[in-house]
Every structure is written in C-alpha cells, then in structure tokens.
Amino acid sequence: MREITYLEAVREAMTQEMERDPRVFMIGEDIGEYGGAFQVSYGMLEKFGPERILDTPITELTLTGAATGAALIGMRPIAEIMFMDFTTLASEQLVNQAAKLRFMFGGQSTVPLVLRTPAGSGTGAAEHHSQSFENWFVHVPGLKVVMPTTPYDVKGLLVSSIRDDNPVVFIEHKLLYKTKGDVPEELYEIPLGKADVKREGKDLTIVATAIMVQRSLQAAEELAKEGLDIEVVDPRTLRPLDTETIVNSVKKTGKVLIVHEAVKTGGFGGELAGVIAESEAFGYLEAPIIRLAGREVPIPYNRNLEQKSVPQVEDIIEKARELATLKV
C-alpha cells in the first residue's frame, strides 16, 4: 500500500467520488485556480472545470446556503469554509436551514451536503484562524459531525460523508494535513458513527479527537516504558457517537481521560463525560472522569503561549500517569 498525506487523502476522496457521481460538486472560496487555502483542491479545477468547481467571492453565508439549496433538489455538494472560525458566518444556513429542512418539511426532502472546514491551532494564525467549534454543531439535531485523524480514516470517512444523505460537518485539523499514512488506492467507505480503538490497553482509557489522538498515542508510548498500558479510543464521528466502544473501553480500564483541543468549558469533553457517567460504565469507574482540554483563552499569537493554550504530549503524559496510578 502506498503512503500519502492526510491532505492528499482528502483530495483523493473528493476526486474519486466526483468521478464516480456527477451530482457531486465543490463550492468554496479560492478553491479553483488557487487550489484552496491549504491546497486541498489543487488540480481539481483542471480536472472538473468551473462547472463543478465553483469558486466564489467572500460569501460564507450564501455559499453555504447555495450548497444547501442545491442539495435540496438532488445534488451532492461539498462546501468548503476556509477556516472553522468562519463557520460563524455560515451558521444561519447550516444550523437553521440545512439541519432542519428535512424535519421541518416532515421528511419530504433530504440535504446531502458536506461542509468541510480546517480547524485547530499551532500555525501561529492566532485568534481568528485557530478555533475548534465541533461541539456547537454536535449540539444540533439534523447535523452529523465527523473529525478524522489519520489519512486512512479521512479518505474513508469523507467518501461516506459524501454518500450520506444528511448534512455532515467534516472537520480537518490543519496540523494533520502533512501527516502521512497508508491509504488504499481504491474507493472505500468507513461508516459514520463508528469509533476506532487506535491502541489497546488495560490501565487507562484515553478518548481523544483530531490531533490529540496522535499526541495521546505518543504519550501512551512513553508511559508504556513506565509499565502503564494505555488504551486510546478515537471516536472519529462525534455525532452520532459510538457510545458502545467508549463504554466498553471504560468498563475494561475503570479510568478515563478525555483529551481535546477545544476550550474545556462547554467543550465536547463535557458531553462525553456525561455519556460515560450515565452509562453502564459508571459502575466500573475507579476514579473521576478527567478532561484535559484547551485553556480558557482565545488562541494567542506568541508561539509559547499558543502551545500552552492546548494540551501537548507532556500534558497528556502527566495527566494520564496521574489518573492511571490513581493519584486522583
């Protein structure tokens, strides 16, 4: 199998699906000749032409609405919002329209829309280009929310998202774009709503999202040297959530550390903690459910401050060790 980057895997998923299904098209800012802000759609204008790669001026609200309207009468658009920070502008169409049209019309219609957006910090882009708002959209019935972490996962999940008849918010962490991994050349699907145990272990469960999966795996390797055996669970889809895999893991280890980049207060970790506490896993907990997440600040510019604003590998090691050895 060949190794490609996460970014190339995203491009491949879209390209192959667009070749297979003429209803799929892209709409977004600077996705045409520019190739996309992160070069995800590089080369796609040449391949599919301006009829299917719709480059727009700065119009987040209406490009999202347009994608929704097109989906409403049978197309399968992929809308791109250049930075997740700007989904604030798209929210009216995403939350009030795309998420609700099917239900509001009593099931008369479907909205098979994918809204892709790069998220996350670490590039020095600071307050307006570094945020992670996945929990806002997890909160909306009618939306699905996917947050893949590996090149293999991102291709399979994007294919499934395009083929899903519901609006999917597809979140790509910027720092993952350059990561590499084995990816099959052919088209394949990874089902939405299925978590992945990225590392098996018995002393502690870490449930992590996006780049925190990578950092947790690194932390687990380090802690293995101390004789601690850490299990890392990657939900991959946040809504609908694969509670069964997570619950089984917590039942096995009795301790769970939740790690995500987004700000802790009101973050997805709270939802996860609630799900775990309400489940059968509660009776197996040996310690409190701990969340390690972003600090209560907008992302600052200074590099050190930026690093310290979100969990790093050392932070995960420290918290995981503390929890695995029952210091809390």
Binding site: L61, T62, F105
Partner: protein, 321 residues
C-alpha cells in the same frame, strides 16, 4: 400571455381561495384552534397568483414566512395545506412545520422559511442545481422588503449573477418589514435597481396589486431565465391588510393608510377588469367566489378532523436513513 376565460377563472379562483384561506386562518386562530402564530397575506393575492401563473408545473418556487398565498398559487392540495396549518399528522409536513414552514416538495414548492432572508441563499443553490441538471426548469424566489436589507440578499445577488442562475427573484414589497417602513430606507424602484447594480440583465418594479402587470413582468423574466439569460429581480409593490403577525397592534401605521390601500384590492381590480372586458360575467365571478370559500370550508373540516401526530413519532425524520 393572453387572458383566456379559463385562465381568468383559474386566477380568480386562486385569489379567492387565498383570501378565504387567510380569513379562515384568522378565524381559527382567534377561536383558539391554532398554536403559535401566523402571517397573513390578505391584500397580496395578485403578487402571488400573477407571478406563479407564469410557471410550468415542473418549475419551482421557494418562499418566505407569509407564504400561504404562494403555496395555494403553486397548486397545493388545500386539505393537506390546512391540515399542516392545524399541525396535524397528515399535513404536508406531518404537523412539524406549521404555517411558517409549509412545503410541498413534490409539487415544486420548496417551502416557506422562518428566517427572513433564509430562503434567498437557498434559491441561489437551487438555481445552481437547476443549471447543472439542465432540464430547463426555473425557480421563483420570493422574499419581502424586510429581506432586502439582509446580508443574505446582497450576497445572493452577487452569487446569482456570478453563476447566472435561472432564478427570478421576486421581492414582495408590502411597505413594512415587521414595523420598519420600507420607505424609510428605500422604495420599490430602488430595490429593483439593485438588480442592475449587481449585474443582472433586467430588473423592474411593478404595481403588485395588478395581476396582469405582475404576470407580464415575471413572464418575461422567466423566459429569459429559461433561455440562459440568468437571474432577474422584480419588485411587486403591494400591501398587507393585516399586521405582521397575530400579535401586531398596528402601532406603526394609520387606519387611513390601511383604508387607502384597501381601495386598491387586487381581487376587486381583477374582477372589474374581467367583467368589463366581458371575459366573465358578474354571476360567474360570484360563483367563483363562492367556490373559493367553499373549498376552504371543506379544507377546514378536513383539517379539524385530521389526527394529531403520535408522541412516539417525535424523533422521526431528523435524519435521512
């Protein structure tokens, strides 16, 4: 297009059905039978029927929250529409949408919308899809003077022109957003001028209470769209007799103004026209009026007898399987 007797009968019947529906809606509401609120379009019948009469059955409309007239003009089943208004299970939207969100997707009605300006970006997308699907269909996208001030409207004009979508954007200027007078910031002519500013081939404003004038302007725009000439913006200058919603106390306008506009009743205007042109007799017109009201009465009986949605079905229809 020529006004045949058959067409005149259809248009008149539809306008009377709209008028009767709105009046019945009001009665049912005041009798405590309707949950929530509603937005009546009494006085705007010509804008709806005049515009939509230009469409083929396979064309689409998308609307706003004052959309009962649009829905009837697009040929809705009055029973199913009334049942939805009453929130019943066999309404168009299974009682989930209500007055503000009635849709008949199979019938080409892509729905009313609860957000002012919510449907305009959707209209751009529908236009993009219609172009891609290349089946020669067009979309009429209705919105009000209230939406003409939103970012959504302006962004949509830009993208509509950029992608040359087969959409006729129709602004029903009924002189007030909710209570904010359109004339305090614009006029029908000025709104229409945006079409040109944003690069549309044609745009214009009409006397929205003159069915034939509206029809003529929209017809031309529809033809242009279908032939690949891109989007148009038409502003129908009209008036709503009732307040914005049921809770409106009409503090922002005078009774004199309302009475002035009532004299321009679009149904009366069209009636006078078809009778004077001897297309229909007074007696025939009266019979059509009775028919319209009878249709609505039947719909009311149907709706009131229809079942409530079962609580167990609450979470159905959120996701497509």
């Amino acid at each position: 297009m020529a006004l045949t007797k058959e067409k005149a009968e259809n248009y008149l019947l539809q306008m009377y059905q709209i008028r009767a529906f709105e009046e019945q809606a009001e009665k049912s509401y005041m009798a405590g039978k309707i949950h929530g609120t509603m937005h009546l379009s009494i006085g705007q019948e010509a804008s709806a029927v005049g515009s939509i009469s230009t469409l083929e059955p396979t064309d689409y409309i998308i609307g706003h929250h004052r959309g009962h007239g649009l829905t009837i003009a697009k040929g809705a089943d009055l029973n199913l529409m009334m049942a939805e208004f009453y929130g019943k299970e066999n309404g168009y939207c299974r009682g989930r949408g209500g007055s503000m969100h009635i849709a008949d997707v199979a019938g080409g009605n892509l729905g009313a919308n609860g957000v002012v300006g919510g449907g305009i970006p959707l209209a751009v997308g529908v236009g993009i899809a219609l172009k891609m699907q290349a089946e020669n269909r067009v979309l009429l996208a209705f919105f009000g003077d209230g939406a003409a001030s939103t970012g959504a409207f302006h962004e949509s004009m830009i993208l509509a022109v950029l992608f040359q979508v087969p959409v006729v954007f129709i602004c029903e200027n009924n002189q007030y957003a909710m209570s904010f007078a359109a004339n305090d910031w614009t006029t029908s002519k000025k709104i229409a001028a945006h079409g040109e500013i944003y690069g549309m081939a044609e745009s214009c404003s009409t006397d929205g209470n003159d069915l034939l004038e509206v029809q003529s302007a929209v017809e031309a725009a529809v033809k242009r769209a279908r032939e690949g000439g891109g989007p148009s913006l038409i502003v129908n200058d009209t008036y709503r007799w009732r307040g914005h919603s049921k809770s409106d106390r009409n503090r922002y306008r005078t009774n004199e103004e309302i009475e002035e506009w009532k004299k321009k009743d679009p149904i009366v205007k069209f009636r006078k026209h078809v009778v004077s042109k001897k297309i229909l007799t007074e007696k025939e017109v009266e019979k059509i009026k009775e028919q319209g009201y009878a249709d609505i009465e039947a719909a009311r009986i149907f709706a009131e007898a229809s079942p409530e949605p079962a609580i167990e079905t609450l979470e159905e229809g959120v996701y497509a399987p």
